[in-house]
């Protein structure tokens, strides 16, 4: 009986030592980096501490995309020592809310890995509303279906729309060329003529010349029913 108790106590002791969590995050699991403009860089800190009683060694850090870079000054942390990982997010090519993950792999210590989600809002300088043109469930007998798209210029200079095209044959767009003053909007009138039943998805391409040369593609989802 006594032997069994000693055995159980030793086992419990062993389990509790091996489970002592050494890597402890001090910053939240969702690290909010705030709102930034397009084509800019924002940085933040992932803070952690070694809450165990043995030195902690970080193996490597992995990010879910090339847009996120990380920097760590050293790999080994003594008990109770705090450390931080600098993260930098480049918003080039992104718009709206973006979430990316950073995974920290721990070589010596527990847990074997920790995960932090970065959250950034990239404020688009060029807004297109709605995000897609919805023409699903349009009856075949309709001779033409109308929708609108609104383009807003959030740049501090004139926005030149050079060309608007589509790969959908019976979709017409007006206007296809215009200049937008800072802070102003332009409504595009879309008209679609159903040709056959079923899906006829496609897109609209809007080419901008100034202030930067850019092309935005807006999806058009079309489904014609009987």
């Amino acid at each position: 009986m006594g032997l069994r108790l000693i055995f159980l106590l030793t086992l419990a002791g062993l389990i509790s030592t091996s489970l002592s969590q050494e890597f402890k995050l001090l910053s939240p699991v969702i690290l909010d980096l705030g709102a930034i403009k397009e084509d800019s860089v924002v940085s933040g800190q992932i803070r952690f501490t070694n809450s165990g009683d043995k030195p902690l060694k970080i193996g490597r850090i992995q990010t879910s995309c090339g847009c996120t870079a990380t920097q760590l000054d050293k790999l080994i942390y003594q008990p109770n020592e705090e450390g931080s990982i600098e993260v930098r997010f480049n918003s080039k090519g992104y718009s709206g809310l973006v979430r990316k993950t950073v995974t920290i792999f721990i070589e010596e210590g527990t847990p074997s890995s920790a995960r932090v989600t970065l959250q950034v809002v990239v404020k688009p300088q060029l807004e297109i509303n709605p995000a897609f043109v919805d023409m699903q469930d349009i009856p075949f007998k309709d001779s033409s279906v109308k929708r609108t798209l609104v383009i807003t210029n959030n740049y501090d200079q004139n926005l030149v729309v050079d060309k608007i095209t589509t790969n959908i044959k019976t979709l017409t767009i007006k206007p296809t060329q215009f200049v937008l003053k800072p802070g102003s909007s332009q409504t595009l009138d879309l008209k679609y003529q159903p040709v056959s039943e079923g899906r006829n998805d496609g897109y609209i391409e809007i080419e901008f010349k100034k202030p930067v040369e850019k092309m935005k593609r807006v999806p058009v989802f079309i489904k014609v029913i009987q």
């Binding site: 809310l97 993950t101 809002v121 709605p130 995000a131 919805d134 079923g198 999806p219």
Partner: protein
């Protein structure tokens, strides 16, 4: 000359078979049913059944009977937070034609979302559900990040 052509054909055939085997074994591979569906059955039939919907439409049907929301992101992402009431399903299970999602009633309206609304997934997912007899499939445009962007409520588990 003839034998070299034959040899080439055999090599191509073996590579094809190996490719299909690796695809079955790989965690992100496409199941044999879906693969056959693409080549033999064609996708015309299932193509028409997915509706692309914006965040607002999902919000209006939240907690309504007859509607099930499926989260096909990683389990880590799901556990962090998700659309209230959403069920997590493994994307690789779906594409392999297995998993808990297929045991749902066939007349349910299924709203499916991933992290960023990757449109290349829509067809594969439509095929997977279409073959199982599901009629009403909806895909959230812009994915979970567009849900967050609109400042909608989330749930953590």
């Amino acid at each position: 000359m003839k034998s070299s052509i034959l040899r080439l054909l055999i090599i191509i055939l073996i590579s094809l078979i190996l490719g299909i085997i690796v695809n079955q074994w790989h965690p992100r591979g496409i199941g044999i049913k879906n693969l056959l569906g693409t080549f033999i059955l064609g996708s015309k039939k299932t193509e028409t059944m997915v509706y692309i919907i914006p965040v607002d439409s999902v919000f209006t049907v939240l907690n309504k009977p007859g509607v099930t929301i499926l989260d096909i992101r990683s389990l880590d992402d799901y556990q962090l937070d998700h659309i209230p009431g959403a069920i997590h399903v493994s994307r690789s299970d779906l594409l392999k034609g297995s998993g808990n999602a297929f045991s749902l009633p066939k007349d349910k309206k299924l709203i499916i979302y991933d992290q960023e609304g990757d449109m290349t997934q829509v067809k594969l997912i439509a095929q997977a559900f279409g073959r199982e007899g599901f009629q009403h499939i909806f895909w959230l445009f812009g994915g979970y990040v567009s849900w967050l962007e609109k400042g909608m409520d989330t749930e953590s588990r």
